[in-house]
């Protein structure tokens, strides 16, 4: 009997449409079939097949390997002539199962060589005019004599090695092939002219302070081993200037010789502190190791200013050792102030450090080291305990750039000491960002040359979390704001970019060099996509565990995008193929709205629509089981009296309840008397959850979320039938602007025009 009823109902109401559609197509030409274009299709075609190196779960596989490059270097700075020279010995260990015929070494400085091809790949046009100084420099002057001068390349015995330089890459031809497990030791002697990074907007170089002293922030300064791995072979894609670095891990022993009056800090642990520090500095340094709430100054502003008056011709060598780092950098100047503060980390502690000239005060003495410490705390909570001994923030005029344990950051007061909010927040944000890069990509060592978003996107996302934490830790730093004013992270901040002209957008999964709007594409959009994933799609608990799993699986290893995508699903049981596809592989955008709302009432009297269906299928009313009918408010069957009908007035329902529901349970039955069919539309491509806020006549409201999978069979519009005990007065989709919906004018029913930003401002200025 039950079976029969269900069958009849299906036949009557559901199949009726399908059957007639079938009849129609029979008489027409048949449509061709199609491939699977469903937005929820698995990502098998985009992903490579898992293997022994990288598993389907997104973890390193049983045969995962990585190469090792250890360096011993002697470096000398010629402050007077702005030259850097070095002699390095590289011990390269082939941990791969492959026999290597040659090695590739990166010569990043050659990007600034006179014969660099970087300027040649940029189209140029006539400007309406140019400044005289630029004209002279551009068309009349001689170009900067940059780039590496490679003096010798020798093997361990001192025999010259055959090598060839192709722009920023140097191939070293070994006397015999390097078998799995073997090491090859060779040395390179080099020098180059240091560039002015302020003029160049470069990642390293010097800046000249007004008193003539220079601050050097030195990186990409030595020939560096390229990465060889299971996905790229040799990663020897040229350094054009944009896409950053891919580097193997290794141990470093570095001796850096600078003028004796310089203050220097670098990647790794200082080995000869006692030789270099005065007794006073040593005492301050020891105090700093125990100071967890405020920085202790090691070199004061007065001391830095006094040193700035001299120019020592004597030399001093700073000796460092660093283990398991992928790169090396240092900063040096006689004009640096130096402060430090301890940060609790796991069972021990690490040290947060700042180096800055007097030009950076007042500002850096207050917030630089504190921002470093706060960043380490948040990032360690989100990933793993910071495994290095220190993190240094160096003040550089106008750049932010990251290296293991050390980074350069901008943000200085105006000359009269004025600090605007944007200077302060710019400075704190850039410090959080660059210190955060210690985690991505210095430790979770992704390939920046190929995938900018893997470090910038993940890092900008975590930066957002860290900025919010910083605001909570130091409310006095952000007053009168209650929350840290983060620029990137909140969903609504990406709307302008994603709503833009499609010819100027590239998917996140694009090499940085080939994107149109680098900042939005590689930083803001992936950061926002992850933030939405955390807050709206997965929830913090599932997201944070999966994100942490990814970080721990790939700590001190080389992950690919798939390793990240797979791990996030593997650790959470949230099927995210559709999310990765839409947000990372396309330029689609989100736009979901309420298309239509219809009101219904219940009755036991058959209505016209049902009668027509019944007759078309040759069924008599007497064949039907007892039914409850829904009557649309604007249909001809609607009668005013239906408005006040209570459930118990509907004959069929009343009888059913009397026959089937025990008396004692009847009080628990809900009493819905308002029925709505809501039709949602999706003009945007990206399927997202429908976050629905229903406001009721009694002033209460309720939120319902339909998962994104509601769109799996109909990509354009879907309906939901809602039975409510209370009258609905307002329906709103995405009320808290958490999905990056690019057009919110279709988000409410009844259509209500919000007072736009323009009118709000205009009204405000009128009343002022």
């Amino acid at each position: 009997m039950r079976l029969f009823n269900s069958f009849l109902l299906t036949a009557l109401f559901l199949l009726a449409g399908a059957v007639s559609a079938q009849d129609e197509t029979d008489s027409q030409k048949r449509e061709p079939g199609h491939y699977n274009t469903n937005r929820f299709k698995q990502l098998y075609e985009e992903f490579s097949t898992p293997n022994m190196f990288r598993t389907a779960s997104g973890a390193p596989g049983p045969s995962y390997y990585q190469q090792q490059a250890d360096y011993v270097m002697d470096i000398e700075l010629d402050d007077k002539n702005k030259k850097l020279s070095g002699f390095e010995t590289i011990t390269y260990t082939n941990n791969s199962p492959d026999v290597l015929e040659y090695l590739w070494v990166q010569l990043d400085q050659n990007k600034r060589a006179k014969d660099s091809k970087s300027p040649l790949i940029e189209p140029s046009d006539a400007l309406p005019g140019d400044m005289a100084g630029n004209f002279v420099k551009n068309y009349m002057g001689t170009p900067f004599e940059g780039g590496f001068n490679i003096l010798e390349v020798k093997d361990a015995k001192g025999n010259p090695l055959k090598h060839i330089i192709n722009q920023t890459m140097m191939r070293i031809d070994m006397p015999k092939k390097l078998s799995p497990g073997e090491k090859f030791v060779f040395s390179i002697k080099w020098w180059y002219n240091i560039n002015d990074h302020v003029v160049d907007r470069a990642r390293s170089g010097y800046e000249t302070f007004e008193d003539g002293n220079r601050g050097y922030v030195i990186a990409q300064f030595y020939p560096r081993m390229a990465v060889y791995n299971d996905v790229e072979g040799w990663q020897n894609s040229q350094f054009w200037g944009r896409d950053e670095f891919a580097l193997p891990f290794g141990n470093f022993e570095v001796n850096i010789t600078v003028p004796a009056d310089h203050i220097l800090d670098a990647t790794g642990e200082l080995q000869n502190r006692k030789e270099i520090f005065t007794k006073e500095m040593m005492n301050r340094y020891e105090a700093a190791q125990k100071s967890y709430d405020k920085p202790v100054v090691i070199v004061t502003q007065a001391e830095a200013e006094a040193a700035s008056k001299g120019f020592s011709t004597a030399k001093r060598t700073w000796k460092f050792k660093a283990e398991n780092v992928r790169d090396y950098a240092f900063a040096t100047s006689r004009r640096y102030i130096w402060d430090m503060m301890a940060v609790k980390m796991g069972s021990g502690s690490v040290i947060a450090v700042s180096l800055y000239p007097p030009e950076s005060n007042p500002l850096w003495e207050d917030w630089s080291t504190r921002a470093v410490a706060s960043t380490l705390k948040t990032y360690s909570r989100m990933t793993f305990d910071y495994p290095y001994s220190k993190a240094i923030s160096v003040s550089a005029k106008n750049q932010g750039m990251e290296y293991p344990m050390i980074c350069w950051n901008y943000g200085r007061p105006d000359k009269d000491g004025t600090i605007s909010d944007r200077t302060k927040y710019g400075m704190i944000s850039v410090i959080i960002h660059e210190v955060g890069h210690n985690y991505f990509p210095m430790i979770v060592n992704s390939d920046e040359r190929q995938w900018t978003w893997m470090d910038e996107g993940l890092n900008t996302f975590t930066q957002y979390v860290a900025e919010q934490d910083f605001g909570e830790e130091y409310p006095e730093a952000i007053a009168p704001n209650k929350k840290y004013p983060s620029r990137r992270g909140p969903a609504k901040n990406i709307v302008d970019y994603m709503a833009g002209d499609q010819s100027q957008l590239a998917p996140i999964m694009t090499k940085g060099l080939n994107t149109y709007n680098f900042g939005a594409n590689a930083y803001a959009k992936p950061a926002t996509a992850l933030n939405i994933l955390r807050e709206t799609i997965m929830g913090r608990e599932l997201f944070d565990f999966a994100f942490k799993t990814y970080a721990n699986r790939w700590m001190f290893k080389h992950p690919t995008p798939e390793d990240f995508f797979r791990t996030m699903e593997d650790a959470s049981a949230v099927d995210l193929d559709w999310y990765w596809r839409e947000w990372f592989y396309t330029t689609d955008y989100v736009d979901i709205g309420v298309k239509e709302v219809k009101k219904f009432y219940v009755t036991s009297k058959i209505n016209t629509e049902a009668r027509q269906m019944m007759e078309a299928n040759g069924i008599k009313e007497s064949d039907l089981p007892p039914l409850v009918y829904f009557v649309r408010e604007d249909s001809e069957d609607f009668e005013e009296s239906m408005r006040n009908v209570k459930i118990e007035d509907v004959k069929t329902l009343k009888e059913y309840i009397a026959d089937n529901i025990p008396v004692e349970e009847r009080a628990n039955l809900k009493n819905p008397s308002y029925f709505y069919e809501i039709t949602f539309e999706k003009p945007g491509g990206i399927p997202m959850p429908i976050i629905l806020q229903l406001s009721y006549a009694d002033g209460t409201s309720e939120k319902i979320t339909y998962p994104a999978e509601i769109w799996r069979k109909n990509d354009a519009s879907v309906g939901k039938f809602i039975a409510s005990e209370k009258e609905i007065t307002k329906i709103e989709v995405d009320p808290d602007e958490e999905t990056a919906d690019i057009d919110t004018s279709n988000n409410t029913w009844p259509k209500r025009k919000k007072l736009g930003a323009f009118d709000q401002f205009k009204n405000k200025t009128k009343t002022d």
């Binding site: 907007r201 950053e244 932010g400 004025t418 833009g500």
Partner: protein
């Protein structure tokens, strides 16, 4: 002296990518045609430090925006500069832009401008040269919204103006 600004004209290949919070040269202008008010409502968002550099170079090196040192004159310069660089033609004819005011949103200056008495919108030509004389790679994005359409333009120094037609 703002060395790096000047050098940007030099730099064919900017290393802006190295930085985080910096530095892509973009402004966003939203134009909405509100038919019942016969009004073109324009909101333009420009990086504060960029426009401050432009004003300092053009008018007065002491101009300071969004700090305690900001004066009323600065606001006049903002208005003067924007109205000089932003020009609009409606149905082929130049229209007058009324500068309503400005506010700041973190690192952006947000300016509000209105064009009144637009009874019919058949075509809109927008020329936005804001900051293009400062930064060769400056992109000025225009989003236009009318009661029944949405369109976008990406303006740069090669094509500082664009026309949108409505039927």
């Amino acid at each position: 002296m703002k060395y790096f600004r000047i050098s940007l004209l030099l730099l064919i290949f900017p290393l802006i990518s190295a930085t985080s919070a910096h530095k892509f040269y973009v402004s966003i202008t939203k134009i909405e045609y509100v038919k019942e008010k016969k009004s073109l409502q324009i909101i333009t968002k420009i990086f504060t430090d960029d426009i401050e550099d432009a004003l300092q170079q053009r008018y007065d090196p002491s101009i300071s925006l969004d700090t305690k040192k900001e004066t009323e004159t600065a606001d006049e310069y903002v208005q003067k500069y924007i109205l000089q660089k932003l020009n609009i033609k409606v149905n082929g004819k130049p229209v007058q832009l009324n500068y309503i005011g400005k506010e700041y949103d973190v690192d952006m200056l947000v300016a509000y401008i209105e064009v009144a008495n637009i009874t019919d919108l058949k075509s809109l030509e927008v020329e936005n040269k804001i900051l293009m004389e400062m930064f060769p790679e400056q992109q000025n994005i225009i989003h236009l919204k009318t009661p029944n359409s949405r369109k976008s333009l990406m303006l740069d120094k090669d094509e500082p103006n664009g026309v949108l037609k409505f039927n």
